[in-house]
């Protein structure tokens, strides 16, 4: 099973108008816009924890599967989550 860790030193900006969450990913130097309801999950992730698609889906059980698949692709492609090197 492919496992992931959250990218190191993510910076999170939570706008006061709850219009979303902006996450700065140091690894890519880019800012990713995510839905406001992901904020509790983002804040709860332990940098050292191993994550799988299943475990993240379980943690985000309020999100329907179609939306989760799109979110998962975003988290991977934007390097919010990075694959753990098993070597």
């Amino acid at each position: 099973m492919i496992t992931f860790q959250v990218s190191k030193r993510l910076q999170i900006y939570q706008p006061s108008d709850h219009s979303g969450v902006l996450v700065y990913v140091e690894l890519s130097g880019k800012t990713v816009r995510l839905s406001h309801d992901l904020l509790p999950w983002l804040k709860s992730i332990d940098e050292s924890a191993s994550l799988s698609k299943k475990s993240v889906m379980r943690d985000l059980n309020t999100i329907d599967s179609a939306r989760f698949d799109a979110l998962w692709q975003t988290l991977i492609s934007e390097h919010v989550l990075v694959e753990v090197d098993l070597d």
Partner: protein, 303 residues
Amino acid sequence: MKIQQITWPHFRHDCSRGNIGVDLGVAAFRLQTSLPDVQKIFYQLYADYAVVEHHQPSDFQVAVSLPNSLRRWLQAQVSFSLDGHSPFLPLPRSQAYPLLEWGMNWCMASYRHNYLLIHAAVLEKNNEAIIFPAPPGSGKSTLCAYLAHSGWRLLSDEMTVINLDTGLVHPFVRPICLKNDAIDLVKTWFPTVVVSNIARDTAKGDVAHVKPPAASVIDINKTAKIRAIILPQYSASVPLDIYALNKCDAYEALSRNTFNEGILGIDGFKTLSRLVEQADTAEIQYNDLSKVAEFLDEGQFKP
């Protein structure tokens, strides 16, 4: 000492030798050019600026000159250079003055990374500034010229300079670059303002530069707190419509218009997010500048 206190013959002499320095607050430029039209326009538009004396350091030593080639004589062109290096291809001779202004902007955007730099106009009233980030064609410069001559302090027409530590905006007061129809409009609205000659058929169309108000130049080191971020969009059919803009959208709009957010990395993100959080945000469509001015003076963004 101000530029206007230098006699014209002395100015021409020093300018030809690269000895004219001008203090723009966040940066000092030293100019070398022997082109009489560029000398004359610079002398007019920068008349109120403080001189950087010969013995004082400058940040950028720039020049506008004819290239050393046959093009000097045949379909003449001009080159911009920074410290002797030309970063752009030459332009037609008639575009010499705009090339100088654009080159000076390029110097800032390429090297002044101790600030967050945003492609946006910024004006201030009662120590509270409003940023107008916008792509070309949005009417930003026309709006800026109107407000700058209607009681607002001009901080910049083109480049908003944000202090990474304090989040305050630093003035980068420069001549306002007008394009096409806006040139005659501004001349009609404000007949006493000094406007350069028109450079025809540039990449941006016809272009002229407006001398910034002297009061704005005097306050060139006076920072301001940012009160609002407003995305302007000229629309021929709408006198003034105001739309709510959420903070994530405002962040993304600002981010698209930054020159160096990527270079600044995490500092850029922190500065931009703090800026968005502290400011009110809105989007406007307009064709009536007096209504925009009224909204800014009397509306929810009243400073």
